[in-house]
């Protein structure tokens, strides 16, 4: 994976403006705008049916949007107002499909060479370019194997080799790792990120796996019902979800309805039962929920400042960590931490959350 590339890839940005895609009467994507900077990974993250794959396919030219504009590397490939709609083969990008879409009637080599031929590469260069990209994914030895005789991981690599062989500026990935087993998924994730950085590719990555999104991306856009709920850096999305939906989606387990108020310059959330949590960030207008991750809940057996009593009703062993289940009146709180001998089920505990780990979203 360390080989360098002789031809520097174009690091083209991709810009989407007010894109709307309808499937019959249903609006799959509603006027979204987002862009991927050159050489960076933009991830579209969301549950199934949120419009992320439709957006990706619209960029590829496989779906025809109703409204909006798509620019790739400064070139407009789709513009509803201007009547521009380039077919997929003229958009100068490549794509890795969820099914890999390895052509079963060709060998590994032919799969890679197909796109090169279609793009009119010189016959004399064809073999060396194709072999070079097979080399990059570590499949040079399998070049002449029929595509039907490959494992899932190998098919994934062929798809990768095929997509980088044409030296595209932009590569689109539609849940490329979802059909692999857990271990392979981790390995391929790292490998892809490395390759993308080395080649300087602009990538747009679609996934429903928040961990994958956070690891891979320079920028994450969380989608829901055809709109982008929040876009930002991976850390920004992880630490400060802007809406309740994003918070739930990125694994913030504790989302509790509260009364939010400004007290002496600080935002404070008052929970039912009287617990008061100092929060960072502003309070939303209207009803609010206070959010914090289980890992940020501190548990003690003795009372302390800013700590509230609760009963530990369950401690579930997760391997490295233990998940604790607390009840305080009508509140249920999830906590997570290292195994501790002093926290047995049924024990009275005191919980607290540091202000920097607490934030508020609209209920």
């Amino acid at each position: 994976m360390t080989a360098t590339r002789p031809i520097a890839a174009r690091r083209g940005p991709v810009t989407i403006e007010a894109l709307t895609v309808a499937h019959g009467m249903v609006l799959a994507v509603r006027a979204i705008s987002i862009s991927a900077r050159g050489g960076e990974v933009l991830t579209l993250l969301g549950p199934s049916g949120c419009g992320k794959t439709t957006t990706l396919r619209a960029i590829a030219g496989l779906e025809e949007p109703q409204e909006g504009r798509i620019t790739i590397d400064g070139r407009t490939v789709f513009d509803a107002a201007g009547g521009i709609n380039l077919p997929p083969e003229r958009r100068g990008l490549s794509m890795i499909f969820q099914s890999y879409a390895i052509w079963p009637h060709m060998t590994v080599f032919e799969n890679v060479a197909f796109g090169l031929r279609a793009r009119g590469i010189r016959r004399s260069d064809l073999s060396s370019v194709a072999r070079q990209s097979l080399d990059l994914v570590g499949l040079a030895a399998l070049a002449d194997r029929p595509a039907t005789r490959l494992s899932g991981g190998q098919q994934q690599r062929v798809a990768l080799a095929r997509s980088i062989a044409g030296n595209p500026g932009v590569i689109l990935l539609d849940e490329p790792l979802s059909n692999l087993d857990a271990q392979l998924r981790l390995a391929m994730r790292t490998e892809f990120r490395e390759l993308q950085r080395n080649l300087g590719l602009t990538a747009i990555y679609v996934t429903h796996d928040q961990e994958e999104a956070l690891v891979l991306s320079d920028c994450v856009a969380v989608m829901r019902d055809g709109v982008i709920e929040q876009a930002g850096t991976a850390a920004g999305i992880h630490d400060r979800p802007a809406t309740r939906f994003v918070a739930e989606f990125v694994g913030v387990r504790n989302i509790l309805p509260c009364d939010a108020a400004e007290e002496s310059g600080r935002t404070v959330a008052r929970l039912p039962g009287g617990a008061l949590l100092a929060c960072s960030g502003p309070a939303p207008d209207g009803p609010a929920c206070v959010c914090f991750r289980p890992i940020n809940v501190r548990l003690a057996t003795q009372p302390g400042p800013g700590a509230f009593p609760a009963t530990l009703t369950a401690a579930n062993y997760l391997g490295d960590l233990v998940q604790y289940h607390l009840h305080a009146g009508e509140l249920t709180i999830w906590a997570r931490g290292l195994p501790r001998s002093d926290l047995a089920e049924g024990a009275a505990v005191f919980w607290s959350v540091p202000p920097e780990a607490c934030f508020l979203v609209a209920a």
């Binding site: 590829a60 030219g61 496989l62 025809e64 201007g82 009547g83 521009i84 709609n85 077919p87 997929p88 083969e89 958009r91 990008l93 490549s94 794509m95 499909f97 969820q98 099914s99 890999y100 879409a101 052509w103 079963p104 009637h105 197909f114 796109g115 279609a118 793009r119 095929r162 044409g166 689109l172």
Partner: protein, 541 residues
């Protein structure tokens, strides 16, 4: 930049136009012209009754036989693969030959079976195929493969876990069969019943051979006789066509109304396993399969061979004599043989090619594009299934006799009839192949820089090619044996083999008919076989 229509859009439009041009004018012609003609069927209530009796009788018998075969040939039967192949053979044999075969087997005086029975029982036992019951029975034998195919498909779709769940929750095998398996098969059973009914009421050859001689007339034989009379009574014939069309439409409508109330999501999964919920009895089930193969294929063909190789057909065993003279006559003496064989082969090849191409176009547009009106295109291309070939031929006559196009009286009008009649088959076969191909295979080619044409040529077509070739061969065989439409559309220059066979049947020596029937079978199977061989050789190279 102006938006130029993409090639895939153009293909969509072209395919839609062709399908509309093929299906709509004849349909409109039958409806408009027949409606003005007064309603001839009212004057012949007996024929209407016969048509209904024949249609429903054939349907009930064929669905019971085909459904029974589907259940019988579920896994666990000895020789299953061979039986499955043999059971569908009647699809590729014209019912005309089956009917003639049964005529030689079981006509009351000279039938082979009756010769044996009379010898054994002293003339007290007779099996007579030339009766309404015989007509229905032979038609059912000829159409039973349709319900067999549809119901065994549905059977394959029943996940083993569905029946296993019933067993685990206390159901006996019998309860599983009645409570789970049969209800799940009901939609396929119903669909095949409608299909058989439409085929049966449009079937000409069987009633013509086994019914007409004893006065058992149905709508198709009535249409034939009205057009054969002088002057031809077109309007009355079309009125009968409308009756057939209305019957077919009513049943198709009833089917969709019934299925709307009880629709099942497609169930797929692990294969249906018989021993768990049916009494196993593999020998008995295999025996049922072989019995069907014998009655529907082997016996009629043997009778045909017998008739073709006897000097003359006689009730007296002492006068029977083997002879090659009938083959010699149809090959060298009968003036129509070679003209008809050439026409048939040409028509078979052209129509199989066009059906496959057009069918592929339709399935591609329906499955792979978002073109407006594509579900309408799908339904329109399936419409010939619910339109008897003879009625369609009537409509074609009305359209092309009036149009100033020089098509009537040529092979062209037969080609149009064949292509339209077999279009549903082409669409089904190619869409099954396309469904197997993940759309992302084509999309990957496009994104890799291939134009639409290139992705079709290099990715899609090579991948569907095996299916397309076998569909071509089957279509060729079927088109070679078409009778119902050809009998109305041929002229002396455009005669085809199946019409020549029927012509000889009406006016010639029965042994010559049998010999010509064999020639027809031989030509169709040999050519189809050669094409498949050639493809295999190319695939190996």
């Amino acid at each position: 930049m102006a938006r130029f229509p993409r090639p895939e859009t153009l293909v969509g439009i072209l395919v839609s136009l062709i399908v509309c041009a093929l299906t709509l004018p004849p349909l409109a012609a039958v409806i408009t012209s027949g409606a003005g003609a007064g309603f001839a069927p009212f004057r012949e209530p007996g024929v209407v009754f016969n048509t209904l009796l024949f249609g429903f009788g054939t349907t009930i018998a064929a669905v019971i036989a085909g459904g029974g075969l589907a259940l019988a040939l579920a896994p666990g039967v000895p020789g299953r693969a061979l039986l499955e192949g043999l059971v569908v053979m009647p699809l590729y044999l014209t019912p005309l030959l089956t009917a003639m075969g049964w005529n030689w087997l079981a006509s009351p005086h000279s039938g082979l079976v009756n010769l044996l029975l009379h010898a054994a029982s002293g003339n007290s036992l007779t099996i007579n195929a030339v009766t309404p019951m015989g007509t229905i029975g032979v038609a059912a034998l000829a159409t039973a493969p349709l319900p067999f195919l549809l119901i065994s498909d549905a059977l394959r779709g029943i996940d083993a876990s569905l029946t296993e769940a019933a067993r685990v929750h206390g159901a006996t095998p019998r309860m599983v069969l009645h409570g789970i398996v049969l209800p799940l098969l009901a939609p396929a059973g119903l669909a095949s019943a409608v299909l058989v009914f439409v085929q049966a009421i449009g079937l000409f050859s069987v009633p013509a051979v086994l019914g007409m001689p004893e006065g058992f007339n149905v709508a198709t034989t009535e249409i034939y006789q009205l057009l054969e009379s002088y002057p031809p009574r077109f309007a009355d014939a079309t009125a009968w066509g409308i009756l057939l069309l209305a019957l077919a439409a009513a049943l198709t409508f009833a089917q969709s109304a019934l299925l709307r109330r009880r629709s099942f999501a497609t169930i797929t999964g692990k294969a249906f396993r018989v021993p768990r919920h049916l009494p196993s009895l593999p020998r008995l089930r295999a025996g049922f399969g072989w019995l069907y193969v014998a009655l529907a294929t082997v016996l009629p063909l043997l009778a045909l061979l017998w008739a073709a190789s006897m000097a003359f057909i006689t009730a007296n065993p002492k006068l029977m004599r083997l002879s090659g003279e009938h083959f010699a006559y149809v090959l060298f003496g009968y003036p129509k043989t070679w003209l008809a064989a050439g026409n048939s082969a040409l028509l078979g090849a052209l129509s199989a090619t066009f059906v496959v191409l057009l069918g592929f176009g339709v399935s591609w547009v329906v499955l792979r594009t978002r073109q407006a009106g594509r579900s309408l295109l799908d339904q329109l291309s399936m419409m010939p299934l619910s339109m008897p070939a003879m009625v369609f031929a009537l409509g074609l006559l009305w359209v092309y006799v009036r149009l100033p196009l020089p098509i009537y009286g040529t092979l062209g009008i037969l080609l149009i009839a064949y292509v339209t009649h077999y279009l549903p088959f082409g669409v089904r076969a190619t869409s099954a192949a396309l469904r197997q191909l993940h759309p992302e295979l084509e999309e990957a080619a496009r994104v890799s820089g291939a134009s639409w044409l290139r992705s079709m040529r290099r990715i899609t077509l090579p991948l569907v090619q095996p299916t397309v070739f076998s569909a071509w061969a089957l279509l060729f065989i079927m088109a070679m044996q078409e009778v119902s439409a050809s009998i109305l559309l041929y002229t002396s220059h455009s005669i085809v083999l199946s019409v020549a066979v029927f012509d000889l049947w009406e006016n010639g020596n029965p042994s010559d008919v049998a010999a010509l029937g064999f020639v027809q079978l031989a030509v169709s199977f040999v050519i189809a076989g050669l094409v498949l061989r050639a493809r295999q050789r190319r695939a190996l190279a």
